[in-house]
């Protein structure tokens, strides 16, 4: 691919300009328009991406309120971070919200995608209906969910009362808060992930399913033995994006509790890593500490992406898909032989 590209473009270059053998214009000079074309991204990234990233390393070794002079403190921010119970709480909160939103979300998305794949009618209606939550602003959605989970007049409590159960003060206790936030996340992203899974399902050859059917595999066997293994790369994609998104949860708890003074809500039950970062940096102007939290977040994201990759994808990913494909191919071949034989016998009988 790369080779043919190169050949083609050198051929193109020679046809456009013929500089003569003695004075070939520099390859770099010829490519100036291309450099200009790709430069906006790199210039913007240098100013608003790379520079701030390096600056944030520098910043995290300082104590600074954003106005006065920066004071060098070495690794103090980081050593304080490691012993800061609120920071650890923000990590466990984030991880709990991530797990109780992501696991049901991906399982549900898989079920929905499977049903969508089998449904031949209303498909585009379903797709739009399932995707709409994802394009809706988190702020507006959080307000609606906040009212549904509301302690006194929430729809959920009204429902609990109507079936004779006690009210639950969802937004006053750590678990209730986490469940509320996780529901918002799951509501917004289940349909999105289902659409991605659906695309993955559609890429699986129908021959494989035909073969499984001929083998008399039950739908659940087909699902777990064929669909899930072949979907691995797609599942990896959704798991990694869910992890990166899940570790950066912020808006939900900020909208629910931001105006109450305590950004994490009662008992800091909804305090996430990014809300702790925001609160330190922009609430109490501790820019150095905020930068250090940013780096901790970065390390966590890298760590969890690697774990995901190891668990779901990883080195044996391709091998497993290939093995599944080979198994199915063998089955198809065996079927064919059996069918041929049966056909022959049939013919013989006549």
């Amino acid at each position: 691919m790369a080779v043919s590209d190169a050949v083609r473009s050198t051929a193109a270059v020679t046809t456009t300009k013929d500089p003569g053998p003695d004075r070939p214009p520099s390859k770099f000079r010829q490519a100036l328009p291309q450099y200009a074309a790709v430069s906006p991204f790199f210039i913007l990234f240098a100013i608003f991406g790379a520079f701030p990233v390096f600056f944030s390393i520098w910043l995290s070794f300082h104590s600074w309120d954003g106005i006065g002079t920066m004071k060098w403190v070495g690794l103090e921010q980081y050593s304080y971070l490691l012993t800061d119970p609120t920071f650890w709480k923000s990590i466990t909160n984030t991880l709990i919200i991530w797990v109780i939103s992501t696991v049901p979300m991906l399982l549900l998305a898989l079920v929905i995608a499977n049903s969508l794949h089998n449904a031949t009618r209303f498909r585009s209606f379903y797709r739009i209906a399932y995707f709409i939550p994802n394009i809706t602003s988190v702020v507006a959605v959080t307000m609606v969910f906040g009212s549904i989970f509301s302690n006194n007049f929430g729809l959920l409590n009204a429902f609990l009362q109507s079936i004779g159960l006690d009210k639950i003060e969802w937004l006053s206790q750590p678990w209730g808060i986490k469940i509320a936030i996780a529901s918002i996340v799951a509501w917004r992203w289940t349909g999105y992930n289902a659409i991605i899974f659906l695309a993955g399902l559609q890429a699986i050859s129908s021959d494989i399913y035909e073969a499984a059917k001929m083998d008399g595999a039950s739908p659940s066997q087909t699902f777990w033995r064929i669909t899930v293994p072949l979907l691995r790369p797609v599942i990896l994609f959704t798991a990694v994006t869910s992890t990166i998104g899940g570790l950066q949860i912020f808006t939900e708890s900020q909208v629910l509790f931001g105006s109450s003074g305590a950004i994490g809500g009662p008992g800091d039950g909804g305090l996430t890593i990014v809300s702790y970062l925001y609160d330190n940096a922009f609430g109490s102007n501790q820019f150095g500490y905020g930068a250090a939290i940013g780096w901790a977040l970065f390390i966590l994201i890298v760590l969890f992406s690697i774990i995901n990759w190891r668990l779901i994808g990883g080195n044996d990913d391709e091998r497993i898909t290939k093995r599944a494909a080979r198994r199915v191919q063998r089955k198809i071949a065996a079927e064919q032989v059996a069918a041929d034989k049966a056909g022959k016998e049939h013919a013989d009988a006549h």
Binding site: D5, A12, V13, T16, A31, P33, Q34, A37, V38, P40, F41, F42, L44, I47, G49, F51, V53, F55, S56, L59, V111, S115, N118, A119, R121, S124, Y126, R127, Y130, F131, S137, V138, V139, A140, V141, M143, V144, S147, F153, W187, I195, I196, A199, G200, F237, T238, L247, Q248, F250, Q254, V255, G258, S259, Y278, A281, G290, A291, W295, L297, I301
Partner: protein, 275 residues
């Protein structure tokens, strides 16, 4: 055969249930936005759409500069979208169709920037913008996001398959320079890809919350999301008004989505399959 039919019906029942869960919060938003707050604070709660919608919407307009915020959000979203479409497609065109020294290295760097979470450098980004004197101005919302790695990556994949090399060669023979080749050969072919990237970018900027919360510090120049949260913070107990505001903020985007939605969904899924 019969079990097949039963399975189809069960499948649709499952799917319809999911659709109800997807749609219900919108319905509930409308119910709360169209009833009075005392109506909402009763047991049993009102479950049907009421008749106070316009009154509640009027209250929103009295309490926050809704249209002002909407205008700022619209300018920011359109500004970023136009710039992203131009810069990303131009870069993607160069990456996809031309060989130049360092191309692979530059593209590798571009891919590596995916790994950096946007919150990592939040503090220094704010400090940088403060140095520029951009805090509180539209520039802070538009310029940093004017080109992005995702869009270039996505458009490059698209351009590789969509633009025939012969067309570029023909344009070269005609004496067209690089930029003219981009305009006459690249852009027309890339149009469907641009439609997707445009909607995607517009929605993301429109809904963004953390960044405008930090950089739009002037209370008279807030984006819609931040203004909405402020309404919620100040008048949080007036549910019907807050929900009317939420409804008003959500409608334009759903409109954009319903116009371009079907292709958009297919493109998002296709993008995920390429990773």
């Amino acid at each position: 055969m019969r079990t097949e039919k039963v399975r189809t019906v069960v499948g649709h029942v499952v799917l319809m249930f999911g659709v109800l869960v997807s749609i219900f919060p919108f319905y509930w938003m409308l119910v709360m936005a169209s009833n009075t707050t005392p109506d909402i604070f009763t047991y049993p709660p009102k479950l049907l759409i009421g008749s106070h919608l316009f009154e509640n919407m009027g209250n929103v307009l009295d309490n926050i500069d809704f249209f002002g915020s909407m205008l700022i959000t619209l300018f920011a979203s359109l500004g970023v979208t136009v710039l992203v479409l131009f810069f990303d497609s131009l870069a993607a065109f160069a990456f996809a169709k031309y060989e130049f020294p360092g191309r692979n290295l530059l593209f590798g760097i571009l891919l590596a920037t995916f790994m950096i979470p946007s919150q990592l450098a939040l503090v220094p980004q704010f400090v940088t913008l403060a140095e520029f004197g951009w805090i509180g101005s539209l520039k802070a919302l538009i310029i940093p996001g004017a080109a992005n790695a995702f869009g270039i990556f996505w458009m490059r994949q698209y351009a590789k398959g969509a633009i025939p090399d012969e067309l570029i060669s023909a344009a070269k023979v005609d004496g067209a320079g690089f930029f003219r080749q981009y305009l006459t050969v690249g852009l027309p072919v890339l149009r469907p890809g641009l439609a997707f990237l445009g909607i995607f970018t517009f929605i993301n900027v429109w809904n963004d919350y953390l960044w405008p919360l930090i950089v739009m510090t002037d209370p008279n120049k807030l984006t819609l999301q931040v203004a909405l949260q402020q309404l919620n913070g100040v008048y949080g107990t007036d549910y019907s008004m807050v929900m009317a505001g939420a409804l008003m903020s959500v409608i334009p985007l759903i409109g954009v989505f319903l116009i371009g939605g079907r292709h958009f969904i297919a493109d998002i899924a296709a993008g995920a399959m390429k990773f």
